[in-house]
Amino acid sequence: MASALTDTWNGEDTTVAEIERELARLRRSAVEGDATNMRTSVMTHCVWVPPEWLEPAKDTLSGMGERHPSRTILLVPKPGEPNGLDAEVSVRCFDAGERHICSEVIELGLRGNRTLAPASIVLPLLISDVPVFCRWRGEPAFGEPAWGQLVGVVDRLIVNTSEWETLRFGELAESFDLTAVSDLAWANLHAWRIALARCWPAIREQEIHIRGPLAEATLLHGWLVSRLDRPVAAIKPADELSVQLGGEQLAAPDREPLSASDLLSAELDRLDRDRVYEQAVRAA
């Protein structure tokens, strides 16, 4: 599918009502061409993205409109700036044979006190009756209003604990009963988990040593502890993940690492709670 049409509107110091009006106008202008344009309503995808994460977030999102035609709402908090709401709204349509599939991207700059109640800005912009996903870039603001409000609004929260300087798993676990949680660091471990599952039943009794980046190694450790129901030696830091079983190095999974877009894409297809992940986090 190739990108066919993009139409954009920018507004400074705007309102949610104005954003909705402009969005409707852009959608109408997108259907005026020869081909039939379809607005697809599979989900609303919110992204909480502090300014320092904006570029990587946009890189990840580029191309995802084709795979996940949805309404994407980028929330960029700027608490130090004067109160106000800025918006850039675009409707992007992609060729799909005789039709175009259209998705919408709303980038909102939340200035000053607008960062305190993001849910009140997001709620009117959600597509009705479809799931809401929220990708929280960087370290969560546990205990702050933005975190609590968005957790209360979304059906699935997606974090990447590899982006955290401190692993605050205890606080993350408090969200498990409020919303389903995905972790891209955990998703990255899928091939390792398959490799380790294939070592059953020997792994039941073997001595296990894990080295690797903090988040991945901790999650793998927590997973083994929770699944095998026995202690596993403490992790050691390293740049690359590696696992030793019974003194033998386990071969690293023979798979190309997934791109950030692919990882996020896979999580946007999930709707259920990941109990195995939750247990791994609680055991970590």
Binding site: M1, V42, H68, I101, R193, A197, W200, R227, D229, D269
Partner: protein, 502 residues
């Protein structure tokens, strides 16, 4: 005890059950089906890690070819037709287990050689005597091969037979073939393939009906006016005159694909999604189809015409076709499913070659609103709701509803609410053959046709085609690139209805 109970590390990994080690033998490995469909499907299964760890492929055909030549030919086929990108590592692993054997299907020595070859492969690849035999050969060769394989059947491992359509050419020959298979193999070892059942959209029909509470209560004669099923191809016979002259549209499409679509549309909810539950319900529909009288069946044959701007030959002008051929390239019929749910609800079906466009659709036309409270002008433009299932191309579903045209008056227009597969899901749609080959390796026959189902299909086809033997139709009766003969339109116009506008 389940796999997860045995191994707690498997929980949440979402791994599909992988088939046990086995050897897949393809009879007819030099044919078009093998290179266009089977090998690309096997490659995609390998690409997605769905094939068994220990797996071998043996291509068998009459022509002489070395293992390396076979691999090279199959590699080119995969590069040309597979839906997944070509990955040398995936290919190398698949090709390492690939062999070829030249075989005259009626030659006892050749069959013995094949058995020895397979035994060696078992040793080399650890495939434990498990075999999947794929019969991509003409019906005449199937009986010979079944007998030869049955007589040489080893006690080690399991056997599965995948048999391509057409399964027989009438009820008598289908029964004969079923009986022959039954002498050597049990029904749960037989997988009669109808690739339409492997299509996502056909399976989605089951999801649409049985996973949505809103449709099933209105899926009956009280609310549905009629059903239209169209299986239209814009292509001609593509050099398959030998086959098509014998088969015609009735045996090529109606007997299998079309009746399967009718069965899936009309069946009662199965108690579960196991092979026998689903197939029991489909057989009940086939049994309930009332044999249509001659006035309710129309056949046609295309003459010269234009398809997508190109002038194309008439059927009788195609290579290998008799100049006075009476083979039908178009069939339309009005069917009734005589049961409580569908009594008096017509199923209009049509299928053909060289029609205006390639399209397979199931249209459920609901009854009109009983008393629209609008002015006369507005009420006239009211159309009944239509739920349209696009099987191919542009797989998806649309629902036509009446909506008020904005303005001061009360004009009403029909608008479509669409769901396109490509727009809703990130996953690529797997090819039907991928699903079906994998299911057969796993021993899941839900999407395959059972012996009694095949026999019911043939019984209906034989009864419908019987009067044709006495007729001398005035063929050709429709121009290539149109929607079939005028008599096809009259069939439905007589009832005050019309085919969907495309």
């Amino acid at each position: 005890m389940s796999q997860v109970e045995q191994n707690p590390l498997l929980e949440g990994l979402g791994l599909r059950r992988r088939p046990e080690p086995c050897t897949l033998v393809i009879f007819g490995a030099s044919g078009d089906l093998t290179s266009r469909k089977l090998m690309p499907a096997l490659y995609s299964l390998a690409y997605h890690h769905l094939l068994p760890e220990r797996f071998a492929i043996v291509g068998a055909a009459r022509s002489e070819e070395t293992d390396d030549e076979f691999r090279a030919r199959m590699k080119a086929a995969v590069q040309a037709h597979a839906r997944d990108p070509f990955d040398q590592k995936v290919w190398d692993k698949l090709a390492a287990g690939m062999h070829y054997t030249s075989l005259e299907f009626d030659d006892e020595t050749g069959e013995d050689n094949l058995s020895r070859h397979l035994a060696n492969i078992d040793e080399e690849h650890g495939t434990n005597g498990n075999r999947v035999y794929y019969f991509a050969v003409p019906p005449s060769a199937i009986a010979m091969l079944i007998t030869a394989l049955g007589e040489r059947r080893s006690a080690q491992g399991w056997v599965r037979l995948i048999i391509e359509k057409p399964f027989g050419r009438d009820l008598a020959s289908a029964r004969e073939l079923n009986a022959l298979i039954g002498e050597h193999f049990s029904e749960n070892e037989v997988f009669r393939i109808d690739h339409y059942l492997g299509k996502e959209t056909v399976q989605n029909m089951l999801a649409l009906r049985f996973a949505n509470g809103i449709f099933e209560p209105i899926w009956n004669r009280q609310f549905i006016d009629h059903v239209q099923i169209t299986v239209a191809e814009s292509l001609g016979i593509e050099g398959r005159a030998g086959f098509y002259e014998q088969a015609g549209a009735m045996r090529d499409i109606f007997q299998n694909h079309l009746l399967q679509l009718v069965a899936i549309t009309a069946m009662e909810p199965p108690i579960d999604f196991t092979a026998d539950s689903v197939r029991n319900e489909k057989v009940k529909v086939l049994k309930a189809i009332h044999t249509p009288g001659p006035k309710s069946v129309v056949r046609g044959q295309y003459g010269r015409g234009f398809v997508e701007g190109d002038e194309v030959l008439g059927y009788r002008e195609e290579d290998g076709v008799a100049r006075d051929s009476t083979t039908e390239t178009y069939v339309a019929a009005k069917l009734y499913v005589d049961n409580w749910r569908w009594a008096d609800t017509p199923f209009y079906v049509r299928m053909g070659k060289r029609l205006a466009r390639r399209e397979t659709t199931i249209a459920i036309q609901f009854k009109r609103a009983p008393h629209p409270p609008f002015e006369e002008v507005a009420a006239e433009s009211l159309r009944p709701n239509v739920l349209l299932i696009h099987v191919q191309p542009n797989e998806g579903i649309s629902l036509a509803i009446g909506a008020k045209v904005p303005g001061l008056g009360m004009a009403i227009r029909n608008v479509n609410m669409d769901f396109l597969y490509g727009s809703g899901f990130r996953e690529g749609v797997p090819e039907a053959y991928e699903r079906l080959i994998l299911d057969s390796m796993l021993g899941d026959a839900t999407l395959f046709t059972r012996s009694d189902e095949i026999e019911e299909q043939w019984a209906l086809v034989d009864a419908m085609a019987a009067p044709w033997q006495r007729d001398h139709p005035a063929f050709p009766n429709y121009a290539a690139g149109t929607w079939g003969p005028p008599s096809g339109d009259e069939l439905i116009h007589r009832d005050g209805r019309s085919w969907r506008r495309h």
